[in-house]
Symmetry: C2
Subunit: 215 residues, 2 copies
DNA sequence: ACTCCAAACCGAACACTGTTAGGTTATAAG
DNA sequence: CTTATAACCTAACAGTGTTCGGTTTGGAGT
């Protein structure tokens, strides 16, 4: 009558573990996820998890990979590289923004995440196919990723503290900083779109001089 | 003859603690910094640190603030907002790149870091002074930060794994990915400059339509 | 039907973490 | 010369990721 030993029907599964882990990270942050807490939420003890998952790190990578599946690279099929970049960047940012607490982890490069490699491949192929020299394709892919990751981190950080009022005297140009917090989401979204527009606009100019035709 | 009690001359100081902490983070990463290890490197036991530092978090914020002192905002004094943005972005990226392991921590917004607020104030003031409407100044500052933070995270992550070769068949467009690793620094630097150029170029166009004169 | 292996859980334990409480000693102030 | 306090210490707490070995069950092979 003890609760030791194999249960009649399996309690754990990789999918359920991933889902619960993500829910905890969303609710309590990356630091709020512990193997014991995760196990408790699953109605199990911590060591049992190691029959399904190699380590906490591997688990997080798997969850990260799940999230990256949502990134949309179909835009590169339109024949317009700017549409490809835009839809990629937007869906990428949306994927990160949906789980902001995962961003610090997701930012650690594609590494061996299959989903990220899939995207990197499509982006590079799309740009080269549109006429960009491979070297430029690499740099443009990197640049776009910078923008998205940076924006996601910024959103996550939510920047300015609650009592910025204290600094009013010393930083006169930040007088309206407190109001930023209220519209943080909107400002982040607008800033991202502005950056993307300006960036793509600048790239279009570059395209003409590098490739020698209009985009 | 015990090693308990107050020493003849003080062993610790805030400056020495900061310096040693940063050295550990540089060498062993953020996760490699523990209060016990830090204390050991300082020839002391962990609890002694708490006479000089409120918590590990506060310590890291202090170190982060030290790093942000190096960011250069003097470019906004030239009267050319593009020069201001460029020198800011470059020195910002350099400050982060000099201590890549600190980036994940530094990315958490200006918060109450005095040095970061100083910069934010100068940037906003410089842009508004150059004619940008406050709302645009906010977005441009945010966008630039996105780029810098994103680039710093990218550098930190170093992306592609050693044995990307494995994925050769599945990701045909990444055939030359392994070679990326060798020139990672160069590619990161070039990509950042490309992004900055394109971004500033796009902003110049925007400036003409928003402000109604050439930059 | 019976054996046997592997799957799936558990308890106990290890070495580690940040942090607090309270003890001990040296310096500086009155 | 007392007294306060600054600066270190030891001991301890609750928590972490992870491993080892135990217990029970399902299912495959004969």
């Amino acid at each position: 009558m003890s609760d030791v030993g194999r249960p009649r029907t399996p309690v754990l599964s990789r999918a359920r573990i991933h889902l619960t882990a993500l829910r905890i990270v969303d609710a309590d942050g990356l630091a709020g996820l512990s193997m014991r807490k995760l196990a408790a939420d699953l109605g199990v003890r911590a060591p049992s998890l190691y029959g399904h998952v190699a380590s906490k790190d591997e688990l997080l990578h798997a969850v990260a990979n799940d999230l990256m599946e949502a990134v949309d690279i179909s835009g590169f099929g339109t024949g317009d590289w700017r549409v490809g970049l835009r839809t990629w960047a937007r869906s990428y940012r949306a994927a990160l923004g949906a789980h902001p607490n995962m961003v610090p982890f997701l930012a650690f490069g594609p590494a061996r995440r299959a989903a990220s490699l899939r995207v990197a491949d499509a982006v590079h192929g799309g740009l080269v196919g549109a006429g960009w020299p491979p070297r430029y394709a690499t740099m443009i892919g990197a640049s776009t990723k910078y923008l998205v990751v940076g924006a996601a981190m910024g959103s996550f950080a939510r920047g300015f503290d609650d009592d910025v009022q204290v600094y009013r005297d010393r930083y006169p140009n930040l007088l309206d900083a407190p109001s930023l917090r209220e519209h943080a989401d909107e400002i982040d979204a607008d800033s991202f779109e502005l950056a993307l527009d300006a960036f793509l606009d600048g790239l279009s100019t570059l395209y003409r001089t590098v490739v020698g035709r209009t985009p």
